[in-house]
């Protein structure tokens, strides 16, 4: 083996002449032009040097590394000389049965000289480690020509990069579903690669993810079928690709995969209602049904819940909201777009289901919505009780005290029932008596763990007053009766419609129909009134005054209709449109408007 001086072969260069003498007969190069332009390096004395350190001592596969070699090279074994057979990187020292490592190259110039800086004590080299080089220990061997002993440095550790995962498709998985996935990354080992194939393991939050049909397609792609366990909770699964330590690119690469949990429905106390061991829940109409789900908290990183959907069976409402002035009662729809649900059932029914699912904004999921969580309810009413309706059948001409507040100043009324002697709006309280009401409704007396109330809706109401000049007809628009809720005494409420009678009237008629709803409200907090049922009722009465227009001699009222109109109708799902009292207006009397009357009076004054 021949050695040639490089830029820094100064330790041997004092012997240039000797070198020239020796080199010519033995050189493989037969012309100076083939020799390094600086000088050829010849050993002054063939013998082993020492390599005290090689820096860095770890060489990553696939990289070009500048290496500093320190030591003592008195015999021309410094690395600046031309590399010949035997020089280089070996997988083991030559005397230990090693071989040159073909996957590690020392970078040379076109003349075969190593690129770098060189001196007898420290030199730099550039080595290029092939990407496919497995992890191993290697040695730098500077073979001393003629001395039969090589200068060996090392070992140096070559580290091969493990696999990396850059993306997983689809980019999120629902627990309990199966997916064909594709993993993109680097340094995966196929079955044909040393140590291959790459192994895959996935650990989910709260459980495992089953893997099947694993195929390492290439160094950059793995495909598999995965099935995250159904009880995984929201979080990140750890996807780990591992190359065996004995093969190429040993090590492992990890990535996180969002797990979207199977929805679970809980009650407001945190008890799980849905799932394999779910039982039918027993509830009562009007009670608040508060449900939550396990997706109430923040979703896994990078995932946005785009839609919550509740499907509630039976007839349910979000709430019964009476406006401050009772001019309207609204029954709001249940908001089924939130992660929590609040609703109230109106009617009793068995086997009613509530289902919930959610959807996420993951574009590469074929079905971005979860499966349903489901709870079954049996809804019962408070009891089978129904109100007792009492029709007095009594039509009276009664006298009530009116202005100017003296006991003798009476106003006559034709009345369904018998109320007499009560105060007017502006008189002292003169007392009076309450006789039979026209109609009364008594709530069930059975215990119901709640309270009863009444709400009356006027269906139609027409009064006609026949005078000498004609007939004045006044009407009341359909809507809520004047008071809400209808006050009741000991669970009983009543109504006694009346019509005022004046001397100038010849005849008075009233045609009235209303629906009285019996409502029940559970004692449980936040319950709403729900209808037990309703009773329609009516009256048509007439009385005449032969003494008109100055006297009053009213005939006994004649009624063509009075009392209940049909039976009490318990609410059930078949009467959805009639079971719940709602209104958008008060029952407003119009006959005629004040403004009209004022205008008319003013015109009269002007005339």
């Amino acid at each position: 083996m021949r050695k040639f001086l490089g830029n820094y072969c100064w330790r041997v260069c004092p012997h240039i002449l000797y070198a020239v003498m020796l080199i010519l007969p033995f050189s493989h190069h037969n012309a100076w032009g083939q020799i390094h332009p600086m000088m050829r390096c010849m050993p002054w004395y063939a013998g082993p040097g020492t390599i005290t350190s090689i820096t860095p001592s770890i060489w990553p596969a696939g990289q070009t590394i500048q290496v500093t070699v320190a030591g003592d090279f008195p015999y021309g074994d410094q690395p600046g000389c031309e590399l010949n057979e035997g020089d280089g990187v070996w997988n083991a020292p030559p005397n230990a049965g090693g071989d040159p490592d073909s996957l590690v190259k020392i970078t040379t110039d076109k003349d075969g000289f190593p690129k770098g800086t060189f001196s007898p004590t420290q030199s730099t080299l550039t080595v290029k480690v092939a990407a496919k080089h497995p992890s191993a220990n290697v040695y730098l061997v500077l073979d001393c020509d003629g001395c039969e002993v090589a200068t060996v440095g090392g070992p140096v550790q070559i580290t091969a990069p493990g696999p990396t995962i850059t993306s997983i498709s689809p980019s999120a998985w629902f627990a309990g579903r199966s997916y064909d996935i594709s993993i993109t990354g680097t340094n995966f080992l196929t079955t044909s690669d040393p140590g291959g194939p790459t192994e895959l393991k996935i650990t989910g939050p709260g459980g495992n993810v089953r893997i099947s049909n694993l195929v390492v397609v290439s160094a950059t792609q793995i495909t598999a079928a995965v099935e995250p366990a159904k009880d995984l909770y929201a979080g990140m699964a750890v996807v780990k690709a591992t190359n065996p330590a004995t093969g190429a690119n040993p090590g492992s690469g990890e990535a996180s995969e969002p797990i979207l949990p199977k929805p679970i429905i809980y009650d407001q106390d945190g008890n799980q209602l849905s799932g394999d061991n779910a039982t039918t829940q027993l509830v009562v109409v009007g009670l608040p049904i508060n449900l939550n789900t396990n997706v109430m908290g923040p979703p896994p990183a990078g995932i946005a819940i785009t839609q919550n959907t509740w499907r509630v069976g039976g007839t349910h409402i979000g709430g019964y909201d009476v406006s401050p002035d009772q001019s309207s009662a609204t029954v709001t729809k249940t908001d089924t777009t939130q992660a929590s649900l609040l609703t109230h059932w109106v009617y009793g029914e068995s086997g009613v289901k509530i289902k919930y699912h959610y959807c996420v904004g993951v574009s590469d999921l074929t079905d971005p919505c979860s499966q349903d969580a489901e709870v079954t309810f049996d809804i019962s009413g408070p009891s089978d009780g129904q109100p007792t309706t009492f029709d007095s059948g009594l039509f009276s001409i009664n006298n009530l005290i009116v202005n100017p507040c003296g006991p003798g100043d009476l106003q006559s009324f034709m009345e369904y029932g018998n109320y007499t002697g009560y105060v007017s709006d502006s008189c002292p309280n003169m007392g009076g008596s309450v006789g039979a009401s026209g109609i009364s409704f008594t709530a069930p007396t059975t215990s119901s763990d709640g309270t009863y109330s009444f709400v009356q809706i006027v269906n139609h109401d027409t009064e006609s007053f026949t005078e000498s000049g004609g007939v004045l007809t006044c009407t009341t628009a359909s809507g809520l009766d004047g008071i809400y809720p209808y006050p009741s005494t000991s669970g009983t409420t009543s109504d006694s419609p009346n019509v005022p009678l004046d001397p100038f009237m010849k005849k008075v008629r009233r045609n009235f129909a209303a629906t009285m709803y019996l409502m029940w409200t559970s004692n449980q907090t936040n319950s709403i009134p729900v209808p037990i049922g309703y009773q329609k009722w009516q009256l048509q009465e007439t009385s005449s005054n032969p003494g008109a227009p100055t006297g009053q001699n009213w005939t006994d009222p004649i009624s063509t209709l009075h009392g209940p109109n049909g039976q009490f109708v318990p609410v059930d799902p078949s009467q959805k449109h009639y079971g719940y009292p709602t209104w958008s207006l008060k029952a407003t009397f119009s006959c005629p408007t004040t403004a009209q009357m004022m205008t008319e009076l003013e015109s009269e004054d002007e005339q």
């Binding site: 401050p324 002035d325 009772q326 001019s327 009116v402 106003q411 009345e415 029932g417 109320y419 009560y422 105060v423 709006d425 502006s426 002292p428 309280n429 007392g431 009076g432 009401s437 109401d461 007053f465 005078e467 000049g469 004609g470 007939v471 004045l472 006044c474 009766d481 004047g482 008071i483 809400y484 209808y486 006050p487 009741s488 005494t489 000991s490 409420t493 009543s494 109504d495 006694s496 419609p497 009346n498 019509v499 005022p500 009678l501 004046d502 100038f504 009237m505 009233r510 008060k586 407003t588 009397f589 006959c591 005629p592 004040t594 403004a595 009209q596 009357m597 004022m598 008319e600 009076l601």
Partner: protein, 181 residues
């Protein structure tokens, strides 16, 4: 001295009785409260003026009362309506309607309605609606004050009354309202 002593004794007695009386009066909390509300405090001239009367039982016992309405006015309440000068506002009084044939018809002195007797449970309320403009003449723009009262019970001879808050409304000219719109 004796006279002075007697006078002192009577005086102290009188004071004591007065104090006891006052204490007794103070010790009787109102059993009912009345609250007036109006959907909007600014109303165009000629519009209906609707108020809501909320009667609440603040006692520990149910209170039985009469309820009702005549026309759109809640019965069993006394209405006190005053204008910006503090003068009582006139009631509408006799009212007439002119028929298409030119004849005038007189409306009933009071309008049709209903009576019912009921109880308000402790802590509960009953609300009644009243269109006070059906009773009183809000015939010019300005500020009006409405107050409502009712007897504390329907027992004959009852003298105690319950008074509501004073509700102030502003009647604005119809043309101003149009401009604002």
């Amino acid at each position: 001295m004796k006279r002075l002593a007697k006078g002192l004794v009577f005086g102290l007695l009188a004071i004591s009785v007065t104090v006891i009386g006052l204490k007794a009066q103070e010790a009787t909390p109102p059993r009912l409260t009345l609250t007036l509300k109006v959907p909007k405090s600014e109303i165009k001239l000629g519009e209906n003026i609707d108020i809501t009367i909320k009667l609440t039982n603040t006692s520990q016992e149910p209170i039985t009362l009469l309820f009702g309405n005549h026309g759109n006015v809640a019965s069993f309440y006394q209405y006190d309506v005053r204008n910006e000068n503090g003068d009582s506002v006139a009631e509408v009084g006799p009212r007439f309607q002119q028929l298409p044939n030119g004849q005038m018809l007189q409306l009933p002195t009071r309008l049709p309605g209903s009576f019912t007797q009921g109880a308000i449970d402790p802590g509960k309320s009953v609300t009644s609606n009243s269109t006070v403009s059906d009773l009183y003449r809000f015939d010019h723009p300005g500020k009006y004050t409405i107050r409502v009262s009712r007897y504390a019970s329907d027992t004959a001879g009852e003298t105690k009354k319950v008074y509501s808050n004073a509700l102030e409304i502003t009647v604005i000219p119809a043309e101003n309202a149009n401009k604002q719109q």
